[in-house]
């Protein structure tokens, strides 16, 4: 079994010149790193001694470059696509929230820009607080009146629908009943 080596130890060995090359080994869902130490191979391990896995070759290359290794092999023969870790739901939710916040911020800026541009062009109209609210409240009252009228029509339509449905059900019941009676008579 290949012995493991921790990152700090590998760094020391690279600095001393004992390790010149390494192999990035494809595994299930990611890549491991096999360092060549003389005639022996040592697999890179994490702090708790487990094989350190990299999700992509990019991250493995970055780590090896940081260690001071500039020459390495890539062996993808054992690679199997997959995920090293379960996807973090909280991260995606956070990203989604941040995206929404950004979109909202942009939208507000656009709205304010529109108003500022109107003011700059001289096309903006200014009204007193009382005038504005007089109109807005009148408009609201009108909307409420329209809304309150609408349900009556809706209720009437629903009643017609219910009546038709009841009639259809009664007819179906009568047919079923007649068929059952005919079958009984035939026996």
């Amino acid at each position: 079994m290949t012995q493991s080596i921790k990152l700090e130890n590998l760094r020391d060995l690279v600095n001393m010149g004992a390790v010149k090359t390494a192999t990035i080994l494809g595994q299930k869902g990611g890549y491991a790193v096999l360092a060549k130490l003389g005639t022996q191979d040592r697999i890179l391990a994490n702090k708790v001694g487990e094989v350190k896995m990299f999700a992509t070759t990019d991250t493995a290359v970055r780590e090896l470059t940081r260690l001071g290794l500039s020459s390495f092999l890539l062996d993808t023969s054992g690679y199997e696509a997959g995920l090293l870790r379960a996807p973090r739901k909280d991260v995606s939710a956070r990203a989604k929230a941040a995206k929404q916040a950004l979109a909202y911020d942009q939208w507000v800026r656009e709205q304010v820009d529109e108003a500022l541009a109107e003011e700059k062009n001289g096309t903006a109209t200014w009204h007193s607080h009382d005038d504005v609210w007089k109109d807005v409240l009148a408009e609201t009252a009108q909307l409420v009146a329209e809304r309150d009228r609408a349900p009556k029509a809706k209720v009437a339509a629903a009643t017609v629908k219910r009546t038709i449905h009841k009639q259809v059900q009664t007819a179906a019941h009568n047919v079923r009943h007649a068929r059952a009676a005919a079958a009984k008579k035939a026996k």
Partner: protein, 89 residues
């Protein structure tokens, strides 16, 4: 206040459309929240755009984008906050 007036009309339409039991009362509360900010000369917080200030309308999911010019307050927009809360009666 042309665009702000349009925003308020839009808000009123939204409040009516969601079936609020007392839209006029709710719209009046928005009016009072704006009037209160004006009365207490609320300077507002720095707005997203330079030179503007923003009012948070207490208890209502709307913000006002304003600018104080001496003792007068120019209301540029009344916009919904990021999270549209269903107004409670």
């Amino acid at each position: 206040m042309g665009l702000a007036k349009r925003d308020l009309s839009k808000a009123a339409r939204f409040i009516v459309s969601i079936g609020h039991p007392d839209p006029i009362g709710y719209v009046t509360e928005i009016r009072d929240a704006i009037a209160k900010n004006y009365t207490i000369k609320n300077p507002g917080v720095n707005g997203r755009k330079k030179g503007t200030k923003e009012w948070v309308l207490r208890g209502k999911p709307y913000i006002g984008v304003i600018k104080w010019v001496g003792n007068d307050c120019k209301v540029y927009r009344i916009l919904p906050t990021a999270i549209i809360k269903t107004p409670k009666p």
